[in-house]
């Protein structure tokens, strides 16, 4: 019987066609569930439209985001300038599109960094427990003790402004959050019988983490990442709003909003449009993240 078990284990190591089809069916299920979710599709569409807008910005608008024109300053929306112009006579619509490029890029990079580092820390801490967990958890506690936006502000203030520094500043605050999510999920999964079964059949720790635990943390991680892109965009806007992050003349939604504050009583486009873009983008990512979670966790959808 034992020999049989061992043999079976060896055979299941390379992926059999059966294995793959199960996986494929799983993702088809997820996709089918996602497509049924109307708000998820709305969120996904918002995100995709935003991304298309910022990628094809040079095709969509014929203005230069940096071209100043003093006679045209603070114009209200018109056919020529759909969002009006700013205090230097630059086309606001163009600046919104190019500003989105910066925001999205920084947000994606920051989320990727924090998710990757967070997964490593979180799964190791959650799986092994004991001293390793204590060391990592204390380190995370230190990071968590500083509110992420505050940490981002402190790092940004120290490193100076600029896209890369901003991405770094935002990602470090996110590490602790993703690591904690992974750690909690791993700790919950660890107690399941199938982990015990895997241990009983002699699987190595790394294999158990990789094959049995991490796939189950993928859902919360993906949902967290989707949300965290929205959060990062909010963070970038906040940093730029207080003069860190991305500085003018580089277009960025938060910094346009900050400049617009000076004209808030008489000229609304410079505050309302950046505010709308920030809100719409975060809204889109949140809807998308929610739908993803529902699609990935069928228990909630029964």
């Amino acid at each position: 019987m034992l020999r049989h078990l061992v043999k079976e284990k060896k055979e299941s190591n390379p992926r059999t066609p059966e294995d793959m089809s199960v996986k494929k069916a799983l993702w088809q299920d997820v996709l089918a569930r996602f497509l049924k979710n109307k708000s998820g599709i709305v969120g996904f569409s918002i995100v995709v439209i935003m991304i298309l807008l910022i990628i094809f910005a040079p095709v969509i608008t014929r203005f230069d985001y940096d071209a100043q024109s003093f006679p045209d300053r603070l114009l209200y929306p018109s056919a020529l300038h759909p969002f009006g112009t700013d205090n230097f006579g630059r086309d606001l619509f163009t600046r919104m599109l190019y500003g989105g490029r910066i925001s999205f890029m920084i947000a994606f990079i920051a989320t990727l960094i924090s998710a990757a580092i967070g997964t490593v820390f979180g799964s190791v801490a959650g799986y092994f427990g004991g001293v390793i967990d204590m060391i990592i958890s204390r380190f995370l506690d230190i990071l968590m003790a500083i509110p992420s936006l505050l940490l981002a502000i402190a790092i940004s203030a120290a490193l100076g402004s600029g896209p890369i520094n901003t991405a770094l500043a935002l990602s470090i605050g996110g590490i602790a959050i993703s690591a904690r999510i992974i750690r909690a999920t791993v700790m919950a999964i660890k107690t399941n019988e199938y982990i015990e079964a895997a241990k009983a059949t002699g699987s190595r720790n790394l294999r158990i983490i990789r094959k049995h635990i991490l796939p189950n943390t993928f859902a919360p991680l993906l949902v967290n990442a989707t949300m965290s892109i929205g959060g990062s965009i909010m963070g970038i806007a906040g940093l730029s709003f207080i003069g860190l992050g991305v500085k003018p003349p580089t277009p960025e939604w938060g910094s346009i909003l900050n400049v617009g504050r000076e004209f808030i009583r008489d000229f609304w486009p410079m505050t309302v449009f950046p505010a709308l873009f920030i809100m719409l983008t975060i809204f889109g990512f949140n809807l998308f993240g929610d739908a993803l979670r529902d699609a990935l966790d069928p228990r909630l959808k029964d």
Binding site: M144, L150, A157, A158, G202, I242, G243, R265, M279, I282
Partner: protein
């Protein structure tokens, strides 16, 4: 009790860690504080004297050590580059206002967020649920500072219902508290709904139903208790959010709190002020997290037990990979 003491002792290394991180950040920050303090036109002797006076001629380790020693023994947070008022007295005078704002913000977040989230979850797939979920989604997508500015325009400038600067009367507090609580409420609602939905699908809820308990009793006695743990975490997180947001929102509403002080420090590159502000806020978050963890233990006895039996666990003989084969 042992758990509480253990947890209390943990705060010390955390705070020292925070001090080291923040100090290191500001130490390597660009810009030369000595020339900033001297202004323009100084000789090399004056420069050296000023550097010595500010303690900046020493090495990184010496500076860090003296900062830590001053902080622990005298609660001395150093000197601002531009003002002669000690940072700690400036912070102390501003602390009450910021703390009150934060506290009210959290209370509002909890009182509105949790009940709405529960309603949303137990009425899943009804109009109420869709409405509340949509509301939470919209709320979550509005950053506090964006909301603050829009509120100032609407309620302050256009409608003239509410004052927008300072904190003289209770009416002055409405906008700052509401706008700082707003994003937290959305997060609290979403989190409550999600956890509640997860909890009410657990087997023990089915068991409670099958033994004939009333729905209300199930929600209050079985479901709510189990979904409190993640919610308690959110309270700590909301506190952190409100604090960090205060740097922006206090500035928008011209409130003389810690946030405005830090904002000034950031824009004038007055690193000791920024550092002190970060430390104080981190300390507050630390204390809140401590309370949260103690709450944890009360809400979930399992957590207390984990801490209790951790020692015994290690004594348990490790299961060897080959050991089971004999059993099989």
């Amino acid at each position: 009790m042992l758990y509480i003491i253990k947890r209390l002792i943990m705060v010390i290394p955390i705070m020292i860690g925070v001090v080291i991180i923040v100090f290191t950040l500001t130490y390597f920050a660009p810009g030369d504080p000595v020339s900033v303090a001297l202004g323009e036109g100084y000789t090399q002797e004056e420069y050296d004297a000023q550097a010595e006076f500010m303690g900046l001629d020493k090495t990184y380790i010496e500076q860090l050590a003296s900062y830590l020693v001053h902080l622990i023994t005298k609660l001395d947070l150093g000197k601002s580059y531009f003002s002669n008022i000690p940072i700690e007295s400036e912070l102390m005078s501003r602390f009450p206002v910021s703390a009150m704002l934060g506290l009210f913000g959290i209370v509002l977040t909890v009182l509105i967020g949790i009940p709405l989230g529960i309603f949303s979850a137990i009425k899943q797939y009804t109009v109420l649920d869709y409405g509340l979920t949509a509301l939470a989604l919209v709320m979550a997508a509005i950053p506090g500072f964006v909301l603050a500015i829009l509120c100032i325009v609407l309620f302050g400038v256009r409608l003239r219902w509410l004052p927008i600067m300072g904190l003289e009367t209770p009416r002055h507090w409405i906008l700052p508290i509401a706008t700082s609580a707003f994003p937290g409420i959305a997060a609290m609602m979403r989190m409550t709904r999600t956890t509640m939905l997860e909890v009410i699908r657990q087997d023990y809820i089915t068991t409670a139903r099958s033994k004939g308990l009333k729905e209300n009793a199930i929600i209050v006695k079985h479901a709510l208790k189990n979904c409190l743990i993640p919610l308690v975490t959110i309270i700590g997180g909301s506190m952190a959010m409100v604090l960090a947001g205060s740097i922006i929102s206090e500035n928008i509403f011209s409130i003389r709190g810690i946030g405005t002080y830090m904002y000034g420090g950031i824009s004038s590159r007055d690193y000791p002020v920024v550092m002190a502000g970060v430390l104080v806020m981190a300390f507050v978050v630390c204390v809140v997290n401590l309370l949260v963890d103690i709450l944890y233990a009360f809400v979930d006895p399992r957590i207390k037990t984990i801490y209790g039996i951790r020692k015994n666990k290690r004594k348990k003989p490790a299961v060897m990979p080959g050991a089971e084969s004999e059993v099989v």
